[in-house]
């Protein structure tokens, strides 16, 4: 069966997915199927890396081989590591000109609206296709102010001191099996350094596109906000409608030094057969603030709990998590907040929607270390179920070693009420639109706080997901 035949067989129930087309493009380089020590070395060679990075990779590979699969949470038995291709290069090198990439790839990014978004509201944009960036550009003004925005691959060469200092400092390879895998075979992702006092209020953005079937994308992102600096970072993603799954296992490390602020915003819209197993963690020093906005609409299984380690006095952490689990999907998301210093504050707000056999769970960890006096944490999670068979679960874990803390946890589960739908219908509104209105209403308190371009995009995605949910 040819590739195109397999492709056109895609599952009809997922037809609402908009960006599921495949580009026929040649590979410049590929490590072929499977993973081994040789594959790890080969990736490092293809990137012409210094030896210290090759060593980091090889050590991580050993950890990966030894670590068991996570035993708690979602079942990952279906993942066969030997089936994936771990590295594909699609263009000779990244460019700061959109026109330099093959026409098919450019058309895809055009369809996704990336070049247009760059013009309208981004200070820097990167577009990763398979393993590496095919486009990367920072607004010149920010460059002059000393802001560094590179692909991670480039940063290893251009900023070795910062990379050596911070790479793996927030998420060690040994954190979990997938962080080990990422550290061994990572490719692409962003490196950002914002110098003291510099504020990047217009977002920098990276878009991740998977094109091949049974491919593994392992980008690695590291953002460092120096003292008093500010940066807003966006990421988005999508993939074709392949019948066979791909694996996306990213590692994202944020370092927020004294008085700095990092806002990290994600709309995850992978195609519905992608395993999205991502480790995201931030370290916040004295009076620093880190916020994660984490929107999960796509993927087959997502496991992701953005976390903030508040290690300096007065640090703040916030996670806003929104998940939509449609038919067959499992969104296992949540947050981890580690209070490691006095007067630290964290807020977690989670809203999830489960439709049909979709299942969403909130997994949260609140940890207050001894001595983190006068810390406070507020957690609110609300779940909405659309059908009888939809499911949601909440797994809050609290580990509080300090007495002088304030912890508040609220959780609610509601079901879309037939009478609400009928009420709206009686006002001339068709059932599907009524459903959208009730679901959007559930999300409204959160969505109204989102940046405009995000709330519009998110509402559009939710409405697409709801198509076909009635009748």
């Amino acid at each position: 069966m040819s590739k195109e035949d397999k492709f056109s067989q895609d599952f009809s129930e997922f037809d609402s997915y908009q960006f599921g087309h495949y580009d026929k493009v040649k590979h410049i380089a590929s490590t072929g199927k499977g993973i081994s020590r040789d594959v790890v070395t080969k990736i490092s060679e293809l990137k012409n890396e210094p030896g210290w990075m090759t060593d980091i990779r090889l050590k991580a590979y050993e950890v990966f081989e030894k670590k068991p699969m996570p035993s708690w949470g979602p079942d990952l038995k279906e993942i066969k590591f030997e089936d994936f291709t771990y590295f594909i290069r699609s263009t000779e090198k990244e460019s700061d000109q959109w026109d330099d990439m093959p026409k098919e790839i450019l058309e895809t990014f055009d369809k996704l609206g990336i070049p247009e978004a760059e013009k309208k509201f981004l200070a820097g944009a990167s577009a990763q296709y398979e393993s590496e960036a095919v486009y990367h550009k920072l607004n010149e003004e920010l460059g002059r102010e000393g802001v560094v925005f590179l692909t991670m691959d480039q940063a290893v060469k251009d900023e070795p001191d910062l990379v050596k200092k911070y790479f793996g400092s927030v998420i060690p390879a040994s954190d979990n099996k997938f962080s080990a895998l990422n550290t061994a075979v990572w490719s692409g992702g962003s490196f950002i350094y914002v110098p003291p006092g510099v504020e990047v209020s217009t977002p920098l953005q990276t878009y991740f596109r998977i094109n091949e079937e049974e491919f593994g994308q392992f980008e690695r992102t590291l953002i460092i906000a120096d003292k008093g600096a500010k940066v807003v970072y966006n990421e988005g993603c999508s993939a074709p409608k392949w019948a066979k799954s791909s694996l996306h296992a990213a590692v994202v490390e944020l370092v927020a030094l004294e008085d700095s602020r990092i806002d990290y915003q994600t709309i995850q819209n992978w195609y519905k057969n992608i395993y999205n197993l991502v480790t995201k963690r931030a370290k916040a020093e004295k009076n620093a603030t880190v916020t994660w906005l984490d929107i999960n609409v796509g993927s087959r299984i997502t496991i992701k709990y953005p976390s903030v380690m508040m290690m300096g006095e007065g640090a703040r952490g916030e996670v806003q998590s929104i998940a939509f689990a449609n038919e067959e999907q499992l969104q296992d998301s949540g947050a981890k907040m580690i209070h490691g210093a006095p007067n630290t504050t964290s807020v977690v707000t989670s809203k999830s929607i489960s439709k049909g056999t979709g299942r969403s769970s909130y997994r949260g960890l609140i940890k207050v270390l001894k001595g983190a006096k006068n810390s406070s944490c507020r957690v609110e999670c609300d779940a909405l179920l659309i059908n009888e068979e939809s499911r949601t679960d909440t797994y809050p874990v609290m580990d509080i070693a300090e007495d002088e803390t304030q912890i508040a946890h609220e959780a609610s589960v509601s079901k879309v009420n037939e009478d609400q739908i009928f009420y709206l219908q009686s006002r001339g509104i068709p059932e599907i639109d009524a459903m959208k209105m009730v679901v959007n209403g559930f999300l409204e308190p959160m969505v109204k706080k989102l940046p405009l371009e995000y709330s519009v995009e998110f509402q559009r995605l939710v409405e697409l997901e709801l198509e076909g949910s009635v009748g």
């Binding site: 709206l424 219908q425 006002r427 509104i429 009524a434």
Partner: protein
Amino acid sequence: MKDDYILNINNLKVSIDDKQVLQGIDLSVKKGEVHAIMGPNGSGKSTLAYSLMGHPSYELDSGDIELDSESIVDLEPHEKAQKGLFLAFQYPMEIPGLQMESFLRSAVSSIKGSEETKDVFDFHRKVLKEMRYLGIDESFADRYVNDGFSGGEKKRAEVLQMLLLQPKLAVMDETDSGLDIDAIKVVAKGVNRLKEKGMSILIITHYQRILDYIHPDRVSVLSGGKILKTAGPELAKELEKTGYKDFVPKKSSLDVKF
């Protein structure tokens, strides 16, 4: 003439959870007519209202409903609304997170066409005008639909929707219950405004008071799932004095359907 009727209900039997609540209703409303329905608690008045609008939990066992000489039993609720049927709910639903004005805009554009709401500012002015008319504070335009509204506020909001949607037939299910005396007068004034333009009304109530302002042409007694009597406006006054003791249904009102 059939054409003279906005609503014709023939031998309507409706069940909920295998319990037949409406046991053969025959009822009609002439164009421009006000037809009042009274009856004891649990007699099936709201069931009748819901069945007209097509609530999915209410199963139609037999019978037919014609709106403007056209059977509507197979239509979706939103299609019935688009054909000019309106139900003011006894217990309006709360929709958290859905702003009143945005909801009203969707409703009006679904029923009267998107032209009506194309000019957002014009529509906003129209909404505020009707709100003022009904004594609803402007702030309600930004509030979530019925969310946290008091009983009387919900009823006023139902009438606000009626005024904006201008239906052919309004079914008012105890819109007067929960309204203070002044509000009843305002609401009645609004309803009469539409009546003058030709709207017909099926009004369900327990009290004569609202009928002092919205004058019924006919009054029917619904008890035990059946219409037991239909007469002129004097029947409402009589019922207020005597109650329903003369209208005990012959059989058990809660026949079990097999």
